[in-house]
């Protein structure tokens, strides 16, 4: 088997639509068109039936009742709807304080920031250096008026898995609504919402081999959780979310989640084997640091910092593999990843990090090619690096007085 470059190792950014999912979707774009809210003609009925079958599949993957699943345009909307919807609904009775974590996805952080502008207060918990939350610190952040906590299941950058059961139990004891962003978790970790003490959970299709532009929000029925709609109109989704549903995308999400339910166990074993192979290969390079806890982590993710190599030149060097780097390119400057910063990583190590995310279609050849490429490119860049030279000379770079620039 030959390797086709660029090799896609960015499954946490988005996944290809599984061909089986695409096949199921296509008829709903072409033949079974119809607005599912149109009750008066069979075009609408077929669409509605397909939408409800997909809802069943999404519910099954996370062991929920289909009536607890609300369609949205994606995890960003789910997160916005859950956080603003619950905070607004319960602020009058419970209070206006929110707890979340510094390493959450921007959709959570920015939704909470928006609520702060509306008069809420918020605590952004710092994670431990391994990316996990210290439960005692979480407890300490609770205030009498805490209404909502939002903690992601699996981190998108470092792949660490939070102890959702423990955090949820603390929330239950303190009468706090608990939202979990599970966009990166579906198909990777077992989710059983009958057992998990979670009130609201966000899902995305395109992180689990489904199409972009579709997601869902789980809204618990027992005990019943209420949210204020953020999108108003025809009253779709029992009034929680209006707007014409894209039937083919919903069908795609249902099929993607069905496949995930059936195949995740075997797939995770294969992915883990490849990830461990990648890690073993990369660890042969000097001065590499894994970001995030390795035990409480999805097998798909490997986030590594390559010391003494600058981030942007690293990205240029690895253009044969499609990966994400630890720096977000803003218009004027290179910002180090806020997630890695929250772990206490230096800016230099944050900049020189790469997130490799492995998935369903990754092969052993892909991994081996990647290891060889990284070894060669890191070697070349370090040859160029005065910092590497100083390091080899035994100079402690933290003690060097750098000329201000």
């Amino acid at each position: 088997m030959t390797v086709h470059t660029p090799i896609y190792l960015d499954y946490s950014a988005t996944t290809p639509v599984d061909p089986r999912v695409a096949e199921k979707m296509i008829p709903y774009i072409t033949e079974h068109f119809g607005n599912p809210a149109s009750r008066s003609h069979p075009f609408g009925w077929t669409a509605e039936q397909a939408v409800e079958e997909a809802r069943d599949e999404v519910a099954k993957l996370v062991n929920a009742d289909p009536r607890e699943i609300v369609w949205t345009s994606g995890a960003t909307e789910s997160n916005n709807l859950a956080i603003k919807g619950a905070a607004n609904f319960y602020s009058g009775t419970k209070g206006k304080h929110i707890i979340t974590v510094q390493t959450e996805h921007k959709a959570v952080i920015d939704a909470v920031r928006e609520l702060e502008r509306q008069g809420f207060t918020a605590t952004y918990l710092a994670p431990e250096p391994n990316g996990l939350i210290d439960l005692e610190k979480f407890k300490a952040a609770i205030q009498p008026d805490t209404v909502l906590a939002s903690v992601m299941f699996v981190n998108n950058e470092i792949g660490v898995i939070q102890d959702i059961t423990a955090i949820g139990n603390i929330c239950r004891e303190n009468n706090i609504i608990f939202h979990v962003d599970a966009a990166q978790a579906t198909g990777k970790v077992d989710i059983d919402l009958e057992k998990l003490p979670v009130d609201l959970m966000s899902f995305s299709a395109h992180k689990t081999y489904g199409p972009k532009g579709i997601g869902a929000l789980y809204v618990r029925r027992k005990p019943r959780i209420r949210i204020e709609a953020q999108m108003h109109g025809g009253g779709h989704e029992r009034g929680m979310r209006s707007g014409t549903l894209a039937t083919h995308q919903i069908v795609g999400m249902g099929e993607a989640f069905r496949i995930a339910r059936l195949e995740m166990k075997a797939e995770n074993l294969q992915v883990r084997r490849l990830r461990d192979r990648l890690l073993a290969g990369l660890e042969e390079i000097d001065e590499v640091y894994v970001n995030g806890d390795m035990d409480h982590r999805v097998p798909h993710n490997l986030n590594i910092s390559f010391n003494f190599v600058e981030g942007e030149s690293l990205i240029m060097a690895v253009k044969d593999i499609a990966v994400s780097s630890g720096s977000a390119c803003t218009s004027a400057s290179l910002e180090p990843s806020y997630v890695l910063r929250a772990l206490g990583r230096s800016d230099e190590l944050a900049h020189s990090s790469i997130r490799f995310s492995i998935g369903r279609f990754t092969t052993e050849e892909d991994v081996d090619y990647t290891i060889a490429l990284m070894k060669s490119k890191i070697g070349k860049l370090r040859e160029l690096s005065p910092l590497w030279e100083m390091h080899l000379d035994g100079i402690d770079l933290s003690k060097v007085e750098w000329a201000a620039h």
Partner: protein, 127 residues
């Protein structure tokens, strides 16, 4: 990632990578930037008896434009006097490499590195 062909060329095939003996009285070393800023440039020049730069070497920790800027100036420096070297302006570097506005600082850093290397060399030599 709109790098010019010249930046890509210098990045792929950097010229004059290496290290000169910094204790050599004929060698001037300039190190500018800081790791926290994302750029560290080390530029070294070696002059002959007539005061002409006969060799230049660099090592750079930084983005492609920073690597290209330092690689380019090592080419330009060879054959110049120290005074001529000190006249190299960042604008010329930026123009030659077609650096976008957000990368102008890389050319500034290269100019600073030249100045620092020249100053270091002058401080070593009797006036």
């Amino acid at each position: 990632m709109a790098y010019s062909d010249k930046v890509l060329d210098h990045y792929e095939n950097p010229r004059n990578v290496g290290t000169l003996d910094k204790n050599d009285p004929q060698v001037g070393t300039g190190m500018v930037g800081a790791p926290a800023c994302g750029d560290v440039m080390k530029l070294q020049i070696k002059v002959n008896e007539s005061g002409i730069i006969e060799d230049a070497k660099f090592k750079t920790y930084g983005c492609g434009s920073a690597i290209a800027s330092s690689s380019l100036v090592t080419e330009w420096l060879k054959g110049k006097t120290l005074d001529q070297a000190a006249e190299i302006k960042n604008s010329a570097i930026a123009e030659e490499l077609a650096l976008p506005p957000v990368k102008i600082h890389c050319s500034v850093l290269a100019e600073d590195a030249i100045k620092a290397a020249v100053a270091d060399l002058k401080s070593k030599q009797p006036a």
